[in-house]
């Protein structure tokens, strides 16, 4: 499968960087073609601009700054998100990927003012993430990133596509043991992706 990995963490020595390496390695060993999109390394600007907002409903040309990302998203057959949860959401750099790349004509179309999802080239989705706080606390806050993946993205990609959401909660109290167990879980999940 052609798999787009969207990765968002600024620190090369972070636990998330390790997870990201595991994801890419395991997917490649399993024979997949990985397009590894490291948003920080690529210096992705997450701010939807005035021009982009004004042209929101117009088909983008290849000269458009978001065009290469649109092409990579549309070429992919599966999507893996690798990111930390900050303040109950995506890091801004990943949120901006949705704002700027998930456009009309890319991930959905508007029919009589209603959204029809169209990102049906994505037939598998996984999210690998970490939370500073506990799962209980995240639930109290409505766990927005989990809902976004399991509901919004589920509705956007190919209907019936399998989705997995792997999360290590309570990172601030994590130990070598919990982290190693999580890496093993992620590795196993990627082996079978």
């Amino acid at each position: 499968m052609k798999i787009l990995v969207l990765y968002a963490h600024p620190v090369e020595t972070s636990f998330n960087a390790g997870l990201h390496r595991t994801i890419v390695e395991r997917l490649e060993v399993a024979g997949h073609t990985v397009d590894d999109c490291d948003l920080y390394a690529e210096d992705f600007d997450p701010r939807l601009t005035r021009r982009e907002k004004l042209d929101y409903h117009i088909q983008r040309s290849s000269a458009d700054p978001a065009a290469p990302y649109i092409e990579r998203l549309l070429k992919a057959e599966a999507l893996v998100l690798s990111f930390p949860v900050w303040n109950y959401g995506y890091p801004a750099i990943l949120k901006g990927f949705f704002d700027r790349v998930f456009l009309p004509g890319v991930s959905f179309k508007l029919v009589n003012g209603k959204v029809q999802p169209t990102l049906h080239n994505i037939s598998k989705l996984a999210a690998v993430t970490t939370y500073g706080g506990s799962r209980f606390r995240a639930m109290l806050m409505g766990d927005p990133p989990r809902r976004i993946v399991k509901r919004m993205l589920r509705a956007t990609i190919k209907p019936g596509a399998p989705i997995s959401y792997l999360a290590h909660y309570s990172m601030n109290l994590s130990t070598d043991q919990t982290r190693n167990a999580f890496v093993a879980k992620v590795a196993a999940s990627m082996d079978q992706f």
């Binding site: 963490h9 600024p10 620190v11 090369e12 972070s14 920080y40 600007d45 997450p46 701010r47 939807l48 601009t49 005035r50 982009e52 907002k53 004004l54 900050w86 303040n87 109950y88 959401g89 995506y90 890091p91 801004a92 750099i93 949120k95 901006g96 949705f98 704002d99 998930f102 508007l110 009589n112 003012g113 209603k114 959204v115 109290l140 806050m141 409505g142 766990d143 927005p144 990133p145 809902r147 976004i148 509901r151 919004m152 601030n172 109290l173």
Partner: protein, 195 residues
């Protein structure tokens, strides 16, 4: 009352700008001390850097560009957010503002081991959200209203224990009419009169 209006929209002529103008007018009319933060006009950088992330748990960032934002947070007794909902959540610009400005030693302090986060934002007693949303109400609820929850549960947890909140959204923006938009502005006005 000292109120900080955090406004986030890239287009100066947008409907959100009309909401902002209405809000500022009403709040000033009530004699409140209003400060407006226009994130796009400021060209705020929402991307947390490597260095900033490394020291996140230890101390406030020393980026000079963030200092005026820290001052505003300390100053505010009420905060009103005005933004478009994109993909059920905050625009990346506003999300990054939370990530970078609601920082250690500014908005909270982390305990050494187990224990609760200590809030430094207890002086904020009112938080309001006014937003526009392409999706219909029911589907926004199914997706869990991530934007609303990020602010009114997540960030609100750092504010005063009895912090008052409100949330107003104009749904189905893509099929909105001049009438629906005028009605929503009137609603915003009425709500802010008793904010």
């Amino acid at each position: 009352m000292r109120v900080l209006v955090v406004y986030c929209h890239p287009v100066p002529q947008s409907y959100c700008a009309a909401i902002r103008d209405t809000a500022v007018e009403v709040l000033k009319g009530r004699g409140w001390d209003v400060r407006l933060l226009d994130l796009y006009a400021e060209n705020f950088d929402p991307v947390m850097s490597c260095e900033e992330r490394r020291s996140y748990n230890d101390r406030a960032p020393d980026d000079a560009a963030l200092q005026p934002h820290f001052e505003l947070l300390k100053w505010a007794q009420a905060i009103l957010f005005i933004y478009p909902t994109w993909w059920y959540g905050l625009p990346a610009m506003l999300k990054g503002w939370f990530d970078r400005v609601w920082a250690t030693d500014i908005a909270f302090q982390l305990p050494a081991g187990k224990g609760r986060i200590k809030s430094l934002m207890r002086h904020v007693t009112k938080v309001g959200v006014v937003t526009t949303c392409g999706a219909p109400t029911w589907w926004s609820v199914v997706v869990g209203q991530p934007g609303r929850k990020t602010i009114l549960r997540g960030m609100r947890a750092l504010c005063a224990t009895r912090c008052k909140t409100f949330f107003l959204a104009h749904y189905l923006m893509d099929s909105s009419t001049p009438k629906s938009r005028a009605a929503f502005l009137a609603k915003v006005r009425a709500r802010l009169e008793r904010f």
